[in-house]
Symmetry: C2
Subunit: 333 residues, 2 copies
């Protein structure tokens, strides 16, 4: 399949899935694919050698993008996410924050394979210091660049970008540089607790309950919080006392976790610029409510910005000659 | 099997197992049994009726204690733990704290069955109030009574009893009454995180590392803690940075969780009496270290005190005529 105007293959290859886009030179999405062959699926065999793992990545890449690549071996390809981790196709390493978001070609790590070359985006790291744990992210650096692209000129100011998810990231951006960032295991803890804990046995099939969420936020972020490990068990006590419906336990626990995260990280925010939350509709709504409880307004960005970030990175690194004469007129990815 | 001097069948019937003892009138252990048929095993069938569940409990009880019960139908039996929960053999309810620990016969809930009667100890509850979650425990009320019995006269003072485990309990005791208590999900969170999270994929087979535990306690309980959800992810950053061995991640996470628990609950302790930790050797050692970081000395009680508490409850309720003329001379249970 030859797609006229195709200029870039862009991949967001994470822990559990691969999303792939075929982009035009102006960033417009011409075609897209999705696969559930993320890092976890590709590294299940503990006996696999690094060569086996690399071959498995290459097979998935070829299967997913073969039609596009037949357009010509010259079509550049770029990827972000766990594909660049120590258990990825290639270890693309980390760049240390503070750092710029726009990359040169030399910043990308190359994988040579049968169908050509793949440029992999490195992650970001806050180095550990003086027994103080640092932090890492991989894939979110590209999301943040996509956020700046989506925001346009307003992104020149300081801002805090919150990327909720399995591992929630709070990224401090100043003049288009990442100053620092912090990770909270919020989404993963929610999954663990509601999947297999005493709270899973307390809860029934969830029914949306915004008031239960609000109660959870309040209990999790109040100065009187007795700590997350205690307040979580409180959800069971409330349910046993009949003051919290078992079907509302999930929203209460979600509120506790978000309230605890916001209560700890909002006071540590650097800079005074706007706070942008970028994620699904549901998560943006929840974070906006948790932050509103602290009197903080947020700007929600519910669009998927990763493909924007991949395209912007490819343009910055010279992989694509961008057609950006009329940015407001181009079809957004 | 007729055992001379048998005076009581005592059961600690919890979530995952049943422990049973045959006791003499002075509390001495004459025989013991163990079964893995706890609440979870007996309530796996979602389609089971309450009568089915009761029949399953009765079968396990009979199989475990049949030899003892053949001594005569008059042998009294007492049980504590999840056997008295809503998914137990009988719902023994909760008594509200503050409350005494010694019970009258009328406080125990009776189960009539083919082989006689079983007296079930109710749990304890701090009722929820003003949107403030309360708390619950079941089985630990009997452990605390066993702690008081083991401590002897010193238990007449105020004291805080810490019972670490899946759900860690901090119980405030004043003049042999439970004033209040607080639960932290410390042990359960540890199991979830090291069983199936990004930290499980970061850790390798644990090697004991007291220094890693100490670092975790410090990070989890310091005033500069960025909250448990952030500090937990820090364990991964430390491991990726090479400043924490993957085999030491479990001890670091254990330290974080205990440090967070102690950091939140120690300042909320009521009373000024001694702090007693009752649990396994390993947990007592860990809690002593975490509390020592706050300058607090602890008294460790590594003995299993539940059987003492069951016997003491049975004596108090008049199920057994105790031979207590020489308490210091009797064989301890």
């Amino acid at each position: 399949m030859v797609v006229p105007g195709a200029a870039l293959v862009a991949l967001d290859w994470g822990t559990s899935s691969l999303r792939a886009w075929l982009l035009a030179a102006d960033g417009a999405v011409l075609d897209r694919r999705r696969s559930d062959r993320g890092l976890l699926a590709l590294t299940q065999d503990a006996a696999a050698t690094p060569d086996d793992v690399a071959a498995a990545y290459e097979t998935v890449f070829t299967q997913t993008c073969a039609e596009w690549l037949s357009t010509g071996p010259e079509l550049p390809a770029i990827a972000c996410g766990m594909v660049g981790s120590a258990h990825g196709w290639v270890d693309a390493g980390y760049r240390d924050a503070p750092t710029v978001l726009e990359l040169a070609a030399a910043d990308l790590v190359l994988v040579e394979h049968r169908s050509g070359r793949l440029h992999v985006v490195p992650g970001l790291r806050v180095p550990s210091a003086d027994d103080r744990p640092g932090d890492v992210l991989r894939g979110e650096e590209t999301q943040v660049l996509g956020v700046l692209d989506a925001l346009g000129a307003t992104a020149d100011a300081d801002l805090t970008v919150v990327l909720p998810g399995t591992h929630s990231k709070w990224v401090s951006v100043r003049e288009r540089r990442v100053e620092t960032f912090t990770t909270a295991m919020t989404g993963e803890l929610y999954g663990l607790l509601l999947g297999d804990s005493i709270l899973a046995r307390t809860a029934t099939e969830p029914v949306r309950d915004d008031e239960a969420f609000r109660r959870g936020v309040s209990a999790g972020s109040s100065p009187g919080s007795r700590g997350l490990q205690v307040e979580l068990f409180g959800a069971r006590a409330l349910a046993l006392d009949g003051t919290l419906a078992p079907s509302s336990v999930p929203d209460y626990v979600s509120g506790l976790l978000l309230g605890d995260e916001v209560g700890h990280l909002l006071p540590r925010r650097t800079g005074t610029g706007p706070l942008v939350v970028c994620g699904s509709d549901d998560l943006c709504r929840r974070y906006a409510a948790a932050l509103a409880a602290h009197g903080v307004a947020t700007q929600a960005l519910t669009e998927d910005v990763t493909v924007r970030g991949l395209w912007r990175t490819a343009v910055g690194a010279g992989l694509v000659d961008a057609c950006e004469n009329e940015p407001s007129g181009r079809r957004s990815p």
